[in-house]
């Protein structure tokens, strides 16, 4: 499986964020988007998720799934955690699991992977910022999606939680998944490649 982007151009608010951007991410590979604030990392991720339409260029996932759009084949974790403070940790996870079409048996392992087992009956309103982030990230493990799109996933995570995240990402990559992650924090990933936005917009050198 491969995500291919061809000659992408994105214009937001009259400003060209990137033009002629081409890259390819293969199975088991993570593409790390870096660059200064406002370089277009979030825009690129939201474009892949299908929320934004690029001014020109296109994406495809090979081999494609004709029945589902690219957005339906990806997990999108943006700046917001998409959790309901009125529901408990487990209810939040159970809802997304059911909605995204995961098996109910995945809920407990997903919570355990992000260290939330002990908090599962607590209303999400009482969680700290980092715990909320972990609950948002646990969605990644609730349903199987080939492509993970992560926008600043390490915000408000402590060192141990960052290790939980990289552990989940490594597991996904080892199973042949794809990850596109925008981050300012270096992530300890074995198979990753950096795409720097804001300046160089050509295909970065691929490791052999």
């Amino acid at each position: 499986m491969q995500l291919v982007a061809e000659a992408l151009t994105s214009i937001r608010g009259g400003r060209t964020l990137f033009s002629g951007l081409s890259f390819a991410v293969g199975a088991g590979e993570a593409l790390v988007l870096t660059g200064p604030n406002g370089a277009g990392k979030t825009t690129l991720i939201r474009t892949i998720a299908g929320f934004l339409t690029p001014a020109s260029g296109r994406f495809r996932l090979e081999p494609g799934d004709a029945e589902h759009s690219l957005g339906e084949q990806c997990h999108y974790v943006g700046h917001l955690n998409a959790i309901k403070s009125g529901l408990s940790v487990e209810e939040n996870a159970a809802f997304w699991c059911g909605f995204l079409g995961g098996m109910p048996s995945r809920i407990q392992p997903a919570l355990a992977a992000f260290g939330l087992t002990g908090l599962r009956d607590i209303p999400a309103a009482y969680l700290s910022a980092g715990q909320k982030r972990r609950l948002g990230l646990s969605r990644l493990l609730l349903a199987e999606r080939p492509l993970w799109l992560l926008d600043e996933p390490t915000v408000s995570l402590d060192r141990a939680s960052q290790e939980m995240l990289t552990g989940a990402m490594e597991g996904h990559l080892a199973a042949g998944g794809l990850v596109v992650v925008a981050t300012h924090t270096p992530l300890a990933l074995s198979q990753s490649r950096e795409l720097r936005l804001g300046g160089a917009t050509s295909e970065p050198a691929r490791p052999a």
Binding site: G50, G78, L80, G86, L87, G101
Partner: protein, 227 residues
């Protein structure tokens, strides 16, 4: 198709349980309805004939305004906490998401208000032959309020204090529901068999809204997601 039914009902169930746990939206709608209908007779005075004459109109207009109160929040909470974006990457098309959220809104406002309406009818001296038809007309008409209202809620999603704009945008679209809803009850009071034409048109309006409004709401949501 059955693969889509599970996420659809999951979403409906979550919205209903959130509204129930929150309590706010349901309570505000019911409280508003109760206050308007109880205060009005105090202002008009103890003229029972007059109250009977205006009862269908008052019950319907107050119900519509009470339902409008919670419409603006239909998609707002999901936009604020990022759920809307994740919902959009799910297996359900946006049309079905809009339909599920409209249905949940109807269950949490249209339905409780319909249950309260006959009780308030007592305060307005609604004649006995009007009660059955009143409930039937509201059951038939309130889905149109929730589904058409979803279009307005989606359109005004990113406007601050969009409630007034939503009401202004959507009131013309609620007028047919209002006219035929009131007419159904009025005809039933005057002549027990003559309410059918108005009732059938009211049902037709609701069925049309059920089919067409989610398409419009989904188009508005797709636009909102591009911000």
């Amino acid at each position: 198709m059955s693969a889509l039914m599970r996420p659809f009902w999951q979403l409906v169930r979550r919205d209903v349980s959130l509204a129930w746990k929150d309590g706010g939206a349901i309570g505000v709608a019911l409280g508003f309805y109760l206050m308007v209908v109880t205060l009005l007779p105090l202002g008009i005075g103890p003229d029972l004939a007059l109250l009977t004459r205006i009862a269908p109109g008052v019950l319907w207009v107050a119900l519509l305004l009470a339902a409008l109160l919670s419409l603006a929040r239909m998609f707002e909470t999901d936009l604020e906490d990022g759920s809307l974006e994740v919902l959009a990457t799910g297996p359900l098309p946006l049309v079905a998401i809009a339909a599920a959220k409209s249905l949940a809104h109807w269950i949490t406002t249209g339905l409780p208000l319909t249950v309260l309406a006959p009780v308030l009818g007592l305060l307005l001296n609604l004649p006995p032959e009007g009660y059955g038809v009143l409930v039937a007309s509201m059951l038939a008409g309130t889905p149109a309020v929730s589904f058409v209202g979803a279009v307005g809620a989606a359109l005004t999603l990113r406007t601050r204090r969009g409630g007034l704009l939503l009401a202004l945008l959507m009131l013309p679209l609620f007028v047919p529901t209002l006219i035929f809803g009131i007419d159904t009850v009025r005809e039933a009071i005057l002549n027990s068999a003559a309410f059918w034409p108005a009732f059938l048109i009211l049902s037709a309006i609701s069925l049309t809204a059920l089919v067409l409004a989610p398409i419009a709401a989904a188009a508005a949501l797709r636009f909102q997601l591009q911000q």
